[in-house]
């Protein structure tokens, strides 16, 4: 069987399905669901079949559109190429859109104009799949634009609510500025090297950083930074994830920002091959660390379920960016593992938020409560997702976060740079804050007392629970059988990211890379996938235990005092000593009440953050442009 046609068939199939569903399915519900499920399932199966040659036999699949093969090592046509790294992202993408399609059937049934919805949905799926398959940099840009276009339209899909339109507009403006930077970078590359093929660019640019190349690199870094929502560019992400229908929020966090991460990896490791410069590593790791910290602290201050998850999504992408910036095989595998786990657990959490919205009609943390009795199955799924994202064993988030700590700390030991030690501590602290934030959500939504208007809440239907169960099972699977995943998925994918000569040779013919004197990116650390050491684990647990005891001992004296000074204590039962002596019958501790002491102590920081996230599109664009200028300056200083 000639499987080299499969990538292009899958991508075109999804686009074709998008048009067919509009023509035949806009009136009839059954036809629409059949078309959507048929095209998503077939394309997912075709792509998953490619795991056999790519991971099983170590092949690199290359395909030239219209059979325009390279002439004399000069690429003419548009090429698709799938190596281990592409295949890894392809698996994430097909998993996400297939589960989201299943979930959409029931979740979206009350909306109107579902033909449009599925057209945009399939366009989004096809564009992200095309983005991670393509070997042509302009094709990559076109796919990025289709992706942004479909994502913006889907954000505004429920346009009865003004804030959804607002979120879409902000996403469109910031996204277009980012795409513009990407296109300018591509133009500057074409100007010098007269090719758009990524493999050929890699063979030409390698070790040839002219000032124009530096500008191109910084512009494309900004472009993919905007697409993966790293911190100065993260502002539209929170709005868009919150406003989009939940099945789409899951797609955003599952594959749209992973597409940005993929672009970043290809850019830094292959096209420009600059990641082995230590200054570039530090720049990328700084972006990752700042992203994870600001994301999680912003999440602590949120009152809306989906907006909170959106900020966590930004924070988790920070982990991935930190890990891929290390330029070690361990860093790469742990980053990819975390990207995969993030797709699973964040998708699961968004689906739970969607189930809550479907059942109760709100995602406001202060209006929810006590749903665990009404929706026990959703609660279990949510707890699995929350444990995974907080990094509790034996769930997958623990395995990948532990590997990231190890990778960053190993980097600190190898380079002797104190900065990486600091980043390790930041990563651990961010994980703790993630746990704190999810305790708040669990308490506010699922436990505690249910408000009276939620008395008739029912569990969501089976077709919505099915994707949730699949993702929960995969979360548990990833945490228990991480060695298996490491051996068959992460190590081949991670090595493929470093093995750029193989990529170039597969695309342009044997020994192209040698004649262009391209070498593979050298890995600082040889061992790819070391595992958590039980003794270190024990030490961490004892440390945490001591910390908890210290907090308890030190806190016991001041507990009464704080509560007396709280002026609300007398009026409202919920501020008096937890539940005893309450005056009112209904005394639910709402989401914003937990951790108010922490927030009070950090009020200056939160004040600054509130004023930065002002909601004004001019401020956001100004922030984007200023940070872009800074990135250009930093990269220029590094290379020249």
């Amino acid at each position: 069987m000639n499987y080299t046609h499969f990538p292009v068939l899958s991508v075109m199939g999804l686009f074709l399905g998008g048009f067919l569903v509009e023509i035949f399915g806009s009136k009839n519900k059954t036809v629409r669901n059949i078309i959507v499920m048929l095209f998503t399932t077939v394309s997912a199966c075709l792509m998953l079949y490619l795991t056999i040659p790519v991971f099983g036999r170590g092949e690199v699949i290359s395909y030239w559109m219209g059979n325009w093969e390279p002439v004399g090592g000069h690429a003419i046509g548009i090429g698709y190429e799938i190596d281990g790294l592409n295949m890894f992202f392809v698996i994430l993408v097909v998993l996400t859109y297939w589960l989201s399609a299943v979930y959409s059937i029931k979740y979206m049934e009350k909306d109107r104009h579902l033909g449009h919805y599925y057209t945009l949905f399939l366009m989004l799926a096809g564009s992200v799949l095309g983005l991670v398959c393509t070997g042509d940099i302009f094709n990559l840009y076109v796919m990025v634009e289709i992706m942004t276009f479909a994502a913006v339209a889907l954000t505004a899909f429920r346009n009865k609510k003004g804030s959804n339109l607002e979120a879409a507009f902000k996403y469109l403006v910031i996204g277009s500025v980012g795409s513009g930077f990407t296109l300018t970078g591509i133009t500057l590359l074409y100007m010098q090297f007269h090719t758009l093929n990524m493999a050929q660019l890699a063979s030409l640019v390698s070790g040839n950083m002219t000032p124009v190349s530096v500008l191109a690199l910084s512009f494309m870094f900004i472009g993919f930074g905007v697409k993966s929502f790293i911190v100065p560019f993260h502002t539209p992400a929170a709005d868009a994830y919150m406003s989009a229908p939940t099945s789409i929020s899951m797609v955003f966090s599952g594959m749209v920002n992973k597409a940005g991460v993929y672009g970043m990896i290809r850019l830094l490791y292959m096209v420009f091959r600059v990641i082995d410069k230590s200054a570039i590593q530090i720049v990328v790791v700084v972006f990752g660390a700042v992203t994870m910290f600001i994301g999680v602290t912003m999440a602590l201050a949120q009152h809306d379920f989906k907006r909170l998850l959106a900020f966590h999504s930004i924070s988790q992408i920070g982990y991935v960016i930190t890990a891929i910036g290390l330029c070690s095989l361990m860093g790469m595998t742990s980053g990819l593992f975390h990207a995969m786990n993030h797709t699973l657990f964040k998708g699961l959490l968004f689906l739970c938020a969607g189930a809550v919205l479907y059942a109760t009609g709100t995602t406001d943390l202060d209006k929810l409560g006590g749903l665990s009795k009404k929706m026990p199955k959703t609660t279990i799924c949510f707890l699995i997702g929350a444990f995974s994202i907080s990094g509790l064993p034996p769930f997958n988030g623990f395995a990948s976060k532990w590997m990231i700590y190890q990778a960053v700390y190993e980097k600190a030991v190898v380079t002797g740079n104190f900065f990486y030690t600091f980043v390790t501590v930041t990563a651990v602290v961010v994980s703790v804050m993630t746990l704190a934030s999810f305790i708040k959500v669990t308490q506010a939504v699922f436990f505690g007392q249910a408000p009276k208007n939620l008395a008739n809440t029912k569990e969501v239907p089976f077709s919505m629970r099915l994707p949730m169960w699949i993702m929960s099972a995969l979360c548990l699977f990833g945490g228990v059988f991480y060695r298996l995943i490491g051996r068959y998925l992460l190590i081949p994918a991670g090595q493929a990211a470093f093995n750029i000569t193989n990529y170039i040779d597969a695309m342009l013919g044997e020994s192209t890379a040698v004649s262009a004197s391209v070498t593979n990116v050298s890995m600082d650390l040889a061992d790819g996938f070391s595992y958590w050491n039980p003794i270190v684990w024990l030490v961490i647990f004892i440390t945490v235990l001591i910390a908890v005891c210290l907090v308890l001992i030190m806190g016991s004296g001041s507990r009464g005092k704080v509560l007396e000074s709280g002026k609300d204590a007398a009026e409202d039962g919920k501020y008096s000593t937890f539940f005893s002596g309450e005056k009112s019958e209904y005394s639910h501790v709402a989401g914003s009440d937990l951790f108010w002491g922490f927030k009070h102590n950090w009020r200056k920081y939160f004040g600054i953050m509130q004023s930065v996230h002002s909601g004004n599109i001019n401020d956001y664009s100004l922030m984007t442009v200023i940070c872009s200028a800074l990135i250009v300056i930093v990269f220029t200083v590094i290379f020249i």
């Binding site: 913006v152 339209a153 664009s621």
Partner: protein
């Protein structure tokens, strides 16, 4: 030739300035458009050869940087794609502005900020 590059940079910067400084949403969309035009001008300019003819056949198309007598056709194809994408984005942005105006009764960026913090 250098004039083209300078103009394109001026257009891009002007567009970004409009996006950052103007509070009217329609002006922000126009700013995005101006940025696009600047980039399009840049792309067309890089394919231009002084005194070059139309690329009818591709005999010395790959004779780069020297005496190629043809204008490079690829940037023109790229520009067409870019123009189409830009037009779609502008159209969608404007339709969003219409809808925002219906819901908020305003197109002032300072008032379109229900999502913040």
């Amino acid at each position: 030739m250098i004039f083209n590059y300078i103009t394109s940079v001026i257009l891009i910067v002007l567009g970004l300035y409009t996006v950052c400084a103007k509070r009217n949403l329609i002006k922000i969309v126009l700013g995005l458009g101006i940025t696009d035009y600047g980039i399009n001008l840049l792309i067309v300019s890089i394919g231009y050869n002084n005194g070059g003819t139309a690329p009818i056949y591709a005999a010395d198309l790959f004779n780069i940087g020297g005496t190629a007598a043809f204008v490079d056709p690829i940037p023109q194809a790229l520009t067409l794609t870019s123009i189409v994408i830009g037009a779609c984005v502008d159209a969608m942005a404007l339709s969003l502005v219409i809808m925002i105006n219906k819901r908020y009764k305003s197109i002032d960026a300072n008032e379109i900020r229900r999502l913040k913090g």
